[in-house]
């Protein structure tokens, strides 16, 4: 079996195990390549119907194309889509115009997620995180419990083997389900290419620049690239030396920014 096939089957297995074991799950969705790969895998896992809601945390700093993509995908995939905005923080004036990126990310993403969790009381969230993205994500488990305070006790994680995951949680706790954990950025693109998964145009070069990772527009930089095909992206990735999230300002605002963000519930 090809490695991509193995990854696909493993992800499908994880998605189904989550759906069978949790009563009330949801899938945060950012519309990026990983997110769209997840939708694709969920469609396969559940024979064409995604039986749980998707959550888009709208920071109000979304690229216009992403919002258009959101509406297109909602119809195309028949999604049950929930859009969450931290209105309270926006009213307080939290924004990139006045605040640092770590604070804004925390308020408009992590805090918004907390608000959604409090409102919908999900016991499992499917995330698209991958081990290769970031050092703090390397030690994740496929099923990763979070305390009621949305914290991650990574020093004492349960063992995970032979397809047996942590599927029980206490009151107020939830589990992060991470079907893409073993995938690399290259694997995702190879899979997008193999399957023909629709993705936003911003990943492809326009006027000599393209986006490698998509976030809020004020803090997401495009890279210099003339690549406008999937083959080109795969080839470019095989030779690049810069990291995927180099263009995401909140990661680099201060030392260990990502660690701080993740400890507070960031994906």
């Amino acid at each position: 079996m090809s490695y991509l096939q193995h990854l696909e089957d493993q992800s499908i297995y994880i998605l189904r195990e989550a759906f069978a074991n949790f009563k009330n799950m949801a899938m945060p969705w950012s519309m990026g390549k990983d997110s769209n790969t997840l939708i694709w895998l969920a469609k396969k896992a559940f024979a064409g119907k995604i039986p749980f809601p998707l959550l888009h945390i709208d920071t109000t700093y979304e690229f216009p194309e992403m919002l258009s993509f959101r509406e297109w995908a909602r119809k195309h995939y028949e999604l049950d889509l929930i859009v969450m905005i931290n209105e309270e923080a926006r009213k307080r004036g939290v924004g990139y115009e006045t605040h640092d990126p770590v604070t804004v990310t925390h308020e408009l993403k992590s805090a918004a997620l907390q608000q959604a969790l409090a409102k919908y009381k999900w016991d499992a969230l499917v995330t698209g995180i991958r081990r290769d993205e970031d050092s703090t994500r390397a030690k994740e488990r496929y099923f990763s419990p979070r305390t009621a305070e949305n914290e991650w006790e990574y020093r004492d994680q349960p063992p995970e083997f032979w397809g047996q995951f942590t599927t029980a949680v206490g009151p107020g706790e939830h589990v992060r389900v991470q079907p893409l954990l073993d995938w690399t950025e290259l694997d995702v693109w190879e899979y997008v290419r193999r399957e023909g998964i629709p993705i936003p145009k911003m990943y492809f070069a326009q006027n000599g620049r393209r986006y490698r990772s998509l976030g809020c527009w004020p803090i997401t930089k495009s890279i210099e690239s003339s690549v406008d095909t999937l083959e080109g992206i795969v080839a470019e990735l095989k030779t690049t030396k810069t990291s995927e999230r180099a263009g995401r300002a909140q990661d680099h605002h201060e030392r260990n920014a990502m660690q701080k963000l993740r400890a507070k519930g960031f994906m």
């Binding site: 079996m1 069978a20 216009p64 995908a73 030690k139 063992p159 190879e190």
Partner: protein, 667 residues
């Protein structure tokens, strides 16, 4: 802040690519198979150096890494230290977090490998288990100078437990022992013997020097000219080529869920072993209902699949509307799994709180989840010394390995680990936390498929009185003594005598007589082959219930067919009951001469058709627990022999008798 991006058009459509031609299996990158390898061994025996060397020699390091390490080593006035390479790589990948497993890929000779780096320190065994359980191959490293150490053995033991049987041993640091062949052979002998005890036959034992780069990728004809075997990488590539896909194994389809999101009823699950095809008659255990596969559902694929193989997660629809749910296991009728409440396993325990006898835990195997109790600890292996600890144990402690017996609340569907690995291993969960796992070391396969269960949505109810408590109360265990033999061989005579002898000893016993059953429970059955089989099945089920209640059941039925007797034996064992097949052996001439009921005479005249021994076959037991030659010995002698055997079966062990405090002493 950059300027706000421009709006996009209203009729937005994202980038669509055609589905790539060629699909899975096409050459290059993630589209090939990948072998996962775990490198284990005692601390300081050269794990990091070997991984660094593998990456460097195969050109798998990111650009500039090798040069940077060379520069750093030069500045220190040292030769290149390959371990630094790995450490630098890991540092970059994991910064200050080193306790978890990491995956590093490399390619050689057109094949992809992935090293799962599992830390081997004692306190991190939990992570090592998580890492090594995912590996298909293991490289066990031994320092040529130090030889086998405690962790070498412990890791060997864990590999055998995790079912990683594909092992290559690398005797490292050969340069430190002057490339001495005699030393290598001595270590080879030692490790082969040790692993042999764990039933692991290493595919290769290879002399290497990771630091010098000898026999990792390149041969070292100067120092290791005497080595004619493969290099480490050659051995890894060879094993890759030999690896079976699992498609050849028997079908085991673990049902994850049944979806009814639209008009379809989709059975979703994973192919743990074997292949599934449209049209296949699939029997779903534990209910044993059968249905043909109607379709294999694929989403996003233009062409429908008609056959898929091991490892795939599939969704199928069925021809017949049978009851199937999560936890069921699909199989083909000719090679079914075992269905039993009894599990014999070798387990490892990882939780700080020990696993105690009789304490409830959840056994999770595939998608099955069953309440279980540890009912016996046969042997505990001290992982440090790797010796069996013989004293009676009440618990399995942290990081201990033990051979145990578990009893489930309801039947578990499984295989022996050496038959089908994926359905022969399980995790044990206490509360909401996985605390250990194990592999199943024994499975009693039945020669025939038991009847399908017709009812739906059935549950198992278990009372609070355990079989141990029952045995303690009565002072003996329940059991089934199955007498088989020709009509007139003396079954009834012996059964009657045994029953009264047992009863006088305070042992509850009861005869189950074939003819008597036919007056009641089996009154609807005749003597056709089907009816006779059904007669035996019912007798077996009744015997099982009575024995479970604590009685010693003496069944007295001709039961001529081996297959049927074996089915009763397997079904008794799966309920955790002792079963003794006793062959009442008398030649047909002797039986015919006795002819207590005049039946042989009638059969000879043709008044009875299908009479066993005359015009219907009797299959002698192949391995009976006891044979009684009633034509050669007296009834008293036969019964005395049988009594001894039965007492051995049902008598409680000394310890149990003390706790029983009941009539146990009377036996």
């Amino acid at each position: 802040m950059p300027p706000a991006p421009k709006a996009v058009s209203k009729d937005y459509v994202p980038v669509f690519f055609p589905k790539r031609q060629g699909g899975a299996g096409a050459a290059g990158g993630a589209e090939e198979a990948r072998t996962s390898i775990v490198v284990v061994g005692h601390v300081d025996h050269g794990k990091s150096t070997l991984i660094g060397r593998l990456l460097a020699d195969t050109g798998s390091l990111p650009e500039g890494k090798l040069e940077a390490a060379e520069k750093a080593s030069r500045e220190e006035g040292m030769p290149l230290e390959y371990a630094f390479l790995l450490d630098a790589l890991l540092e970059e990948q994991a910064q200050n977090i080193t306790i978890d497993t990491t995956r590093i890929g490399f390619r050689y000779e057109g094949q992809s490998f992935e090293i799962i780096d599992a830390p081997g320190h004692r306190e991190f065994i939990k992570n090592m288990v998580t890492g090594a359980a995912a590996a298909e191959e293991a490289v066990l490293l031994i320092d040529a100078k130090e030889g086998c150490k405690e962790q070498t053995r412990r890791h060997g033991l864990l590999l055998s437990l995790l079912g990683v049987s594909q092992v290559i041993v690398a005797v490292n640091k050969m340069d430190l022992v002057g490339w001495d062949q005699a030393r290598f052979r001595e270590l080879e002998k030692e490790i082969r013997e040790y692993l042999g005890g764990l039933k692991i036959i290493p595919r290769e034992v290879i002399p290497i020097s990771a630091r010098e780069g000898a026999t990792v990728m390149r041969r070292d004809s100067k120092n290791l000219g005497w080595w004619k075997g493969p290099t480490l990488l050659e051995a890894l590539v060879a094993s890759r080529a030999k690896k079976p896909s699992g498609d050849e194994g028997p079908l085991r389809f673990s049902v994850q869920d049944v979806y009814r999101f639209d008009e379809r009823r989709v059975v979703a699950g994973k192919l743990e072993s074997g292949t599934i095809q449209v049209g296949d008659p699939v029997v779903f255990f534990p209910d044993r209902k059968t249905s043909r596969v109607k379709t294999i559902e694929t989403w996003g694929d233009n062409q429908a699949s008609t056959r898929v193989g091991t490892g795939r997660c599939v969704a199928v629809t069925l021809e017949e509307q049978i009851f199937v749910e999560r936890g069921h296991v699909g199989s083909l009728p000719d090679h079914p799994p075992v269905e039993s409440r009894e599990v014999r396993a070798r387990i490892f325990w990882l939780d700080a709180e020990p696993l105690r006898l009789q304490a409830p835990v959840t056994l999770r195997l595939g998608t099955q989840s069953v309440e279980t109790r540890l009912v016996a600890i046969d042997r505990v292996v001290d992982a440090d010394k790797l010796e069996a600890v013989n004293e009676a144990r009440e618990e399995v402690g942290r990081f201990e390995v033990a051979e145990v017996r578990l009893r489930c609340r309801r039947p578990l569907v499984y295989d022996a680990h050496d038959q089908v690995a994926a359905t022969g291993r399980f995790a044990l969960q206490r509360g909401s936390r996985i605390g250990g796992g194990g592999i199943i070391i024994f499975a009693e396969y039945s020669l025939s498929l038991a009847k399908a269960v017709k009812g739906e949505h059935l549950t198992w109810t278990e009372g609070r009185v355990t079989s141990e408590a029952r045995a303690a109360h009565f002072g003996h265990e329940g059991a089934i003594v199955w007498l088989t033999g020709l009509s007139g061989s003396g079954k009834s005579t012996i059964a009657v005598a045994l029953e009264s002898l047992l009863f006088r000893r305070g042992i509850g016993s009861m005869i189950l007589d074939g003819d008597n059953l036919r007056h009641g429970l089996c009154a609807d059955l005749g003597f056709s082959i089907e009816d006779r089989a059904e007669n035996i099945r019912r007798a077996g089920e009744v015997a099982k219930l009575m024995a479970e209640s604590g009685l010693v059941v003496i069944s007295s039925l001709i039961s001529p067919l081996r297959k049927e007797r074996e089915a009763v034996r397997a079904s008794s064992h799966s309920a955790g009951l002792s079963f003794a097949e006793v062959y009442i052996d008398a030649p047909i001439e002797a039986c015919e001469k006795r002819d207590p009921r005049g039946l042989y005479q009638k059969a000879r005249k043709g008044e009875i058709r299908g009479f066993t021994g005359i015009d219907s076959p009797y299959e002698k037991p192949e391995n009976p627990d006891l044979i009684l030659h009633t034509d050669k010995e007296s009834v008293e002698d036969s019964v005395a022999k049988l009594l001894r055997h039965v007492l051995g079966l049902v008598q409680l062990k000394e310890k149990d008798q003390e706790s029983a405090g009941g009539p146990g002493g009377q036996i």
